[in-house]
Amino acid sequence: MADLRLTAYRQLLGAQVRSQSQYRASFVTDVVGSLMFGVIDVVGVVVVFRMTPTLGGFGFAEVFLMTALAGCAFALADLAVGNVERLRQYVRSGLLDALLVRPLSALAQLAVMDVATRRVGRVAFGAVMVVVAAAYASVTLTPTRLALLVVTPIAGAMIFGAVFVATATVAFWWVESGEIGNGLTYGGLNFTQYPITIYGTLFRRLFAYAIGFAFVAYYPTLALLDRVDPLGAPGLLGYASPAVAIAAVTAAGLMWRAGVRHYRSTGS
């Protein structure tokens, strides 16, 4: 039974990837465009550092590593579940009903049906940037650090993915929520690119600790570079990202379930 389900997902996914790559020129344009979104994040940091040697007590190499880790994590999440933000259109149009009557998970169906293959451009760029930034910041590679460097973008992607799903579920209660989720998803990317030391106390508590964005790039970067947190957090937090990611995904999953249970079709 589980096998059958996997086959169904694989076929749905394959159909999506095939259909999206049919129009070659459009596909190439989309891949290049998605890559450019990754590029401007890096350009933004470079330009800001033209104006100042340090930002929140960190130099360019350190912030560049945070930006690279955050960008790679976001790109991965955006590729996998970024399109779940369309949920509010599906709730409005009633398309969600079609997913709910099938014997598969509605969330997983949404993910494979809306997979944005074109976003591989940004993922590839993000991965390259992580390597470049780690080399530029001269991370001394030990097996532990190497593992941390590989795991961090994945854990970060899980955190971003959880935020994508959690903000999309708002649509179950508030259909006209518009782009309000962007403040946490794309805003989360903005937030995680820079050290959390630059934000005001209230904002930091909410974004860095309550949502867990500090674990996308900030704490892992401290651990990778052997730096002490100016805010006084223990160094071990650099290795806590996977645990935080699992907690975030669990919370998002619970919100999703509550949302689906609350969902009453638009009817007619």
Binding site: D30, I40, V48, E176, G178, Y194
Partner: protein, 274 residues
């Protein structure tokens, strides 16, 4: 109507603008959601600016702290007035063929849409612009213009910015006459308008040798950067006036380009009848 040579009256344009105003005034919840989102980004963007100020001197690229605060918060409001990112509705109408309905009307399609867009901008000015500015003013010290004339100039500048932005979006959309799909040009616009237009950071963060030509020779800074520079009184009144001149130049150039591309596009238009 065929044979009807009368130019469309001012009343027709006013009605279109009023319709644009009412259309957006209907979606109040979406407006609130947009204001909240823009304000969140205001906090994020201004935190970076504050960190730059903290690390260095009293000014950055010629802006002091209250000026930067106004730049960021008024900028977050301006996004909604000029409508920097809009869904590619026109491109969709071209793809489906619905655009023939627009072409059959006795008003030029560019003027139809511009009138409606100005109505929309009017509604945004009293809602989406005011919201983030109030949010910013509650938490930070904003720069209030010293010269009263600046307020009038800012209103003019924001109006010109709206028309330039409309023209750029129009050009992006009518690419669909050739491509049947405006995704590529739309992505190009989203990226360049944000980074070269002064939204992510003031254009003056670039080297001066790059910033000055960028402002005059490309339309992007006319949408966000110039209105904000006018508002925070960067330079004397003469320079503000010159900035308005640059914007006016771009209004003429972009609308002329829209007209030319529209004519070529109509010749290219194929309606897939059935």
């Amino acid at each position: 109507m065929p044979g009807d040579e009368r130019a469309p009256s001012a009343r027709a344009y006013l009605a279109l603008a009023a319709a644009g105003f009412r259309r957006y005034a209907t979606y109040r919840q979406a407006m609130v959601a947009a204001v909240v989102t823009n304000s969140v980004f205001g906090f994020l963007r201004f935190a970076v600016m504050l960190a730059v100020l903290d690390a260095g001197g009293r000014t950055v690229a010629g802006y002091d702290e209250p000026q930067l605060a106004t730049f960021v918060w008024a900028g977050q409001g301006l996004i909604g007035v000029v409508l920097l990112w809009a869904p590619p509705d026109l491109a969709e109408r071209i793809r489906t063929g619905d655009v023939v309905m627009d072409l059959l009307r006795p008003i030029d399609p560019i003027w139809q849409l511009l009138a409606a867009d100005l109505g929309r901008a009017g509604y945004a000015a009293v809602t989406r612009f005011v919201g983030p500015v109030i949010a910013g003013a509650l938490v930070f010290e904003l720069y209030a213009p010293r010269r009263p004339i600046t307020y009038a100039m800012f209103v003019c500048s924001a109006l010109l910015a709206t028309v330039v932005c409309f023209g750029c979006r129009y050009l992006v959309n009518v690419a669909a006459y050739w491509l049947l799909d405006a995704r590529g040009p739309n992505m190009f616009w989203t990226i360049t308008s944000g980074i070269l237009g002064g939204l992510y950071f003031p254009v003056w963060f670039f080297p001066d040798a790059l910033a000055a030509p960028l402002i005059v020779l490309t339309p992007f800074p006319s949408v966000i950067q110039i209105p904000l520079d006018v508002l925070v009184e960067r330079g004397a009144a003469g320079q503000q006036l010159a900035s308005l001149g640059v914007q006016a130049g771009w209004v003429v150039a972009i609308l002329a380009l829209c007209r030319w591309v529209q004519t070529r596009g109509e010749r290219k238009l194929v309606i897939q009848g059935g």
